[in-house]
C-alpha cells in the first residue's frame, strides 16, 4: 500500500509539471498547518511558516549555508513576474509589502490588490505559479480610502488552507492545493473607510486582523474569525467605549472616541505561555489636531496585550499620549526573555515610530527601559526612567505641548522641524532579532519634516459636515527635505546601539536576520543588501532595478538555502520627489529568489 501511494504521488508530481488539472495540484509532501507546528517553527528551519518567522516576531532564519563566508557567491537564481500594480482609487499603481510564506517547497505571496499566488519553488531553478486567486477588489472603492498605498502584507496557513485578506475588507479561506475558495467573510467596511492590509495572525483556529483607516475617522478594532466556520468569534475595539478603561482619556465630552482612530495594520506577536498577543495600535484620529481630542487618546499610539481566546485587553501601554505627530505604533513587538540588570525579565520590545526603543515587561505592561535609536529626535527631551513617559508630558493638561515648534496647533498651524519625521523612526517595516547574538536590527527612516494642523470638523453623525470616507486627519504632513535611512543593531537589554549604518534612502523593507551572521534589507533604489550581523558592514548586494518595500525571508529546499523578496514599490511621492536619481524609476511586480 505504501508503494502504491508513493507511485500515485509520484505520478501526480510528474503530472504537475505539465498540467494544471486539480488532481495535479494536490501537494505531495505538504502537511496540514497546525498549532503544534506554529509553536515549533524552529523544528522546520527549511520553512518560513509564520509572518514574522515565529510567533515571537524575530524574523530570524536558522539556516546558515549562506553566511559571512559564502554570501559573496549569492546570486539570483530565478524570478517570477506577478501582477497587482493596476491603479485604483487615489493610487497610480500598486505596491508590494508582503512577507512570503514557504512550506515544503511551496511559496505563498500576495500583491497589493490581494491576489494570492501559490508558487512551486521546489526545483530551485524557477518559480512555477500553480494557482492564483484574485479577490476582484472594487479598486476605486477600496483604494480611495487606503491611507498609504495599495497594500497587502501576506497570508497565513491553517490546516490545508491559505488564509488571505483583501483591501476591501474581506477574509478568504482558500484550498492550499488548488486555490479554490472555501469561504469569504466581510470583516472591514470601506463604506466607513475601513480597509485590511495586514497578514492574519492565526492562533489555533482563530484568524486575527484589524483595519487601517486612521486618517478617515474609523474607530479601530481587533477581530477574530473562527476558521472552521468563517464567523466572528470576538471583536475588541482599540479605542475603548463608554465605561471601558481608557475611555476617560477622551475628554472632549462629545463622544469623539467614536471616530478616534487606533487602526491596526501589522501582524501582532504572540506569547503561547500566557496565550497573549501584543498588538501595536495606530494614531488617534484626527492625526494632527490634538485640540479636537483633549486627553491622552488611549489606546492610540500604544501597544495592547490581549487574550487570544476571548479578545479581552489585559493591559495597555501608550507611547505618545495625546499624540500630535501621527506617531502610529502598529509595528511589531518582538518577544524575548533576557536578563536586565541581572534580573530575568520577560520582555516585549518595540522600535517605536516616535524614535525611541522600548522594552516593556510583557506580563504587566510596565516600562523596563527606553532609549533613542534615531539619529535626531527633537519632540521631547527624553523618557521618564520610571514610566517611560515623554519627559515633557504634562499630567495637568489635556492637550500636550511637547517641544516647542515640533508640532502644529490651531494657534500656530505649521510646525517647525519635527524629528523623527511623522513617517518615523521605524514605520511598519519589521525589525529582526538574532537570538544568538542577542541583537535587534532596526531598519528606519531618518530625518525631519513638518506637520500642519487644520482644525478638524465633526462627522455628520456628531452634528458636523464630514461624511464617511472623507478625510479626518486634522491637517497634513510637509516634507521638503530628503529623508535618509539607517540600520541599527541594538542590545535590547540596555537600548545601547552596538552598530549603526547610514543608508542613502529611508528604509521601507524591514529586515531579515540569519544564523549565517547576516542581516538582509531591501532599499528604495532596488538594492538588496546583506550585512555582517555584528558590524553591519555591507558584505553583498544585488540591484534588482526597481524599489524594494517588502521584507526578505529565507528558506531551503533539498538542502539549499534561498533568500526571497518581493520587488516593486510605490514610494511616497514626497520622498521620491526629493531624490533626483530615483525620479525615473519604473515600477514592477516581481518575486526574486537568490541562492548560492
Amino acid at each position: 500500500m505504501k508503494n502504491l501511494a508513493y507511485a500515485g504521488a509520484l505520478a501526480c508530481s510528474l503530472f504537475a509539471t505539465t498540467s494544471l488539472t486539480p488532481i495535479a495540484l494536490t501537494p505531495v509532501a505538504a502537511g496540514d498547518m497546525t498549532q503544534e507546528r506554529a509553536l515549533n517553527v524552529a523544528k522546520e528551519p527549511q520553512n518560513w511558516l509564520l509572518h514574522h518567522g515565529n510567533y515571537e516576531g524575530h524574523r530570524f532564519s536558522q539556516l546558515k549555508l549562506i553566511n559571512t563566508d559564502t554570501v559573496k557567491n549569492l546570486k539570483p537564481v530565478f524570478s517570477v513576474a506577478l501582477g497587482g500594480f493596476e491603479s485604483g482609487g487615489r493610487y497610480k499603481h500598486g505596491n508590494l509589502e508582503g512577507t512570503p510564506i514557504v512550506e515544503d517547497g511551496m511559496m505563498y505571496v500576495t500583491d497589493g490588490w490581494g491576489s494570492v499566488y501559490a508558487i512551486d519553488v521546489s526545483s530551485g531553478k524557477k518559480g512555477q505559479i500553480k494557482w492564483k486567486f484574485d479577490p476582484a477588489v472594487d479598486r476605486p472603492w477600496a483604494g480611495d480610502v487606503a491611507c498609504c498605498g495599495v497594500n497587502n502584507r501576506g497570508v497565513a496557513l491553517w490546516k490545508d488552507k491559505v488564509i488571505s485578506i483583501s483591501l476591501d475588507g474581506r477574509m478568504f479561506s482558500l484550498n492550499k492545493a488548488t486555490g479554490e475558495m472555501d469561504w469569504e467573510r466581510k470583516i472591514a467596511d470601506p463604506a466607513i473607510a475601513e480597509t485590511l492590509t495586514l497578514a492574519p495572525l492565526v492562533i489555533r483556529d482563530l484568524a486575527i486582523v484589524g483595519p487601517a483607516g486612521g486618517e478617515f475617522g474609523i474607530r479601530g478594532w481587533i477581530d477574530a474569525t473562527d476558521l472552521n466556520t468563517g464567523k466572528q468569534v470576538w471583536r475588541t475595539y482599540t479605542i475603548p467605549g463608554a465605561g471601558e478603561p481608557g475611555n476617560e482619556t477622551w475628554k472632549d465630552g462629545k463622544e469623539r472616541w467614536k471616530h478616534g482612530g487606533g487602526s491596526v495594520w501589522e501582524t501582532a506577536t504572540y506569547d503561547a505561555e500566557s496565550d497573549t498577543f501584543y498588538q501595536g495600535v495606530g494614531n488617534a484620529g484626527p492625526d494632527w489636531d490634538p485640540e479636537y481630542r483633549p486627553g491622552d487618546s488611549k489606546w492610540a499610539a500604544s501597544v495592547i496585550a490581549l487574550s487570544a481566546s476571548d479578545g479581552k485587553i489585559k493591559w495597555g501601554y501608550q507611547y505618545t499620549p495625546n499624540d500630535p505627530y501621527d506617531y502610529d505604533e502598529i509595528s511589531e513587538h518582538p518577544i524575548i526573555n533576557a536578563k536586565v540588570n541581572g534580573e530575568d525579565r520577560k520582555l516585549l520590545l518595540h522600535a517605536a515610530r516616535n524614535g525611541f526603543f522600548y522594552a516593556l515587561d510583557r506580563t504587566n505592561g510596565s516600562f523596563v527601559l527606553g532609549k533613542q535609536y534615531v539619529d535626531e529626535l527633537n519632540w521631547t527631551t527624553g523618557l521618564d526612567p520610571k514610566t517611560g513617559r515623554p519627559l515633557n508630558y504634562n499630567p495637568n493638561t489635556d492637550v500636550q505641548e511637547y517641544s516647542p515648534g515640533s508640532h502644529g496647533s490651531r494657534a500656530k498651524p505649521l510646525s517647525e522641524r519635527l524629528c523623527p519625521s511623522h513617517f518615523g523612526g521605524k514605520n511598519w517595516q519589521p525589525s529582526a532579532f538574532n537570538p544568538e547574538l542577542k541583537l535587534l536590527y532596526i531598519p528606519s527612516v531618518e530625518g525631519c519634516n513638518q506637520v500642519e494642523t487644520v482644525e478638524q470638523k465633526d462627522f455628520a453623525d456628531q452634528g458636523g459636515t464630514i461624511k464617511p470616507r472623507e478625510r479626518f486627519s486634522g491637517g497634513g504632513q510637509k516634507t521638503t527635505r530628503p529623508l535618509y535611512g539607517s540600520l541599527k543593531a541594538v542590545d535590547p537589554t540596555t537600548g545601547e546601539i552596538k552598530a549603526r549604518l547610514k543608508l542613502d534612502y529611508p528604509n521601507w523593507s524591514g529586515a531579515l536576520a540569519t544564523a549565517g551572521n547576516l542581516v538582509f534589507i531591501g532599499h528604495a533604489d532596488g538594492t538588496l543588501s546583506a550585512h555582517d550581523a555584528k558590524s553591519l558592514q555591507e558584505v553583498w548586494s544585488f540591484n534588482v532595478g526597481t524599489g524594494i518595500n517588502a521584507p526578505p525571508i529565507s528558506y531551503s529546499v533539498n538542502g539549499k538555502q534561498y533568500i526571497a523578496v518581493l520587488v516593486g514599490s510605490r514610494q511616497s511621492p514626497f520622498v521620491q520627489g526629493l531624490v533626483p536619481e530615483l525620479k525615473n524609476t519604473s515600477t514592477a511586480s516581481m518575486l526574486y529568489v537568490f541562492g548560492l
Binding site: W141, P190, D287, E452, G475, Q477, K478, T480, F574, G577
Partner: protein
C-alpha cells in the same frame, strides 16, 4: 533670495472666487470630449494630482499635505499653468516641467537660486499634457461648485461603488 522665494510661494495663493461663473452646457464635440478625457487621465493616474487634491479637485489634507481646492482657485489659466509647470517652492506642490529651474522660466529662478527649497519633482509632463490637464480642470473643476454624483460617475465610471455615498 528668501524674499524672492516667498514671493513665488505667495504669488499663487489660491483665493476663493467670489462666485462661480455661470457656464453654458453646450455639448462637446468628439474631439473636445477626447481631449478632456486625456486630461482627466493625467490628473487621475499619470501625474496623480488627485492623490493630494482629491478626485474632484476640492483639496484635501493628510499624507498629500494640506492641498488647496482647485475648484475655488482664483488663478487665471496662465497662472494655473505656471503652477503645474513650476510647482510651488516651500509649499509641497511639485513641478511637472522637466526643465523647470534649469533656466529662469519659473518665477525667474533657477535650481541654484532655490537650493534646498526646490519643490519636489512630479511626473514630468509634456507641453501638450500640461495643456490637457489644465483644460480638463478648467472644464470640470475650476470655478465649479460642489461636485455632484454625476461628476463622480464621470470621473470613476459606473462599475464601482465609489459614487454611491453621493447618490441622493
Amino acid at each position: 533670495m528668501a524674499s524672492k522665494i516667498a514671493i513665488a510661494a505667495t504669488l499663487v495663493v489660491l483665493a476663493p472666487l467670489a462666485c462661480a461663473p455661470a457656464r453654458a452646457q453646450a455639448p462637446l464635440s468628439p474631439e473636445e470630449a477626447r481631449a478632456i478625457e486625456f486630461g482627466k487621465e493625467i490628473y487621475k493616474v499619470k501625474a496623480n494630482c488627485q492623490y493630494c487634491h482629491k478626485w474632484d479637485g476640492s483639496g484635501d489634507t493628510g499624507y498629500g499635505g494640506v492641498a488647496l481646492s482647485l475648484r475655488k482657485t482664483a488663478l487665471t489659466r496662465e497662472q494655473f499653468t505656471e503652477v503645474v509647470k513650476c510647482g510651488r517652492p516651500l509649499k509641497g506642490m511639485p513641478y511637472h516641467d522637466q526643465y523647470a529651474y534649469t533656466d529662469k522660466r519659473c518665477y525667474g529662478m533657477t535650481r541654484d537660486d532655490l537650493g534646498k527649497d526646490m519643490p519636489p519633482m512630479g511626473e514630468y509632463l509634456s507641453k501638450r499634457e500640461i495643456e490637457a490637464v489644465v483644460n480638463y480642470l478648467f472644464a470640470k473643476d475650476v470655478g465649479h461648485g460642489e461636485s455632484t454624483y454625476q461628476d463622480c460617475v464621470d470621473f470613476w465610471g459606473s462599475e464601482t461603488r465609489q459614487c454611491e455615498p453621493m447618490k441622493k
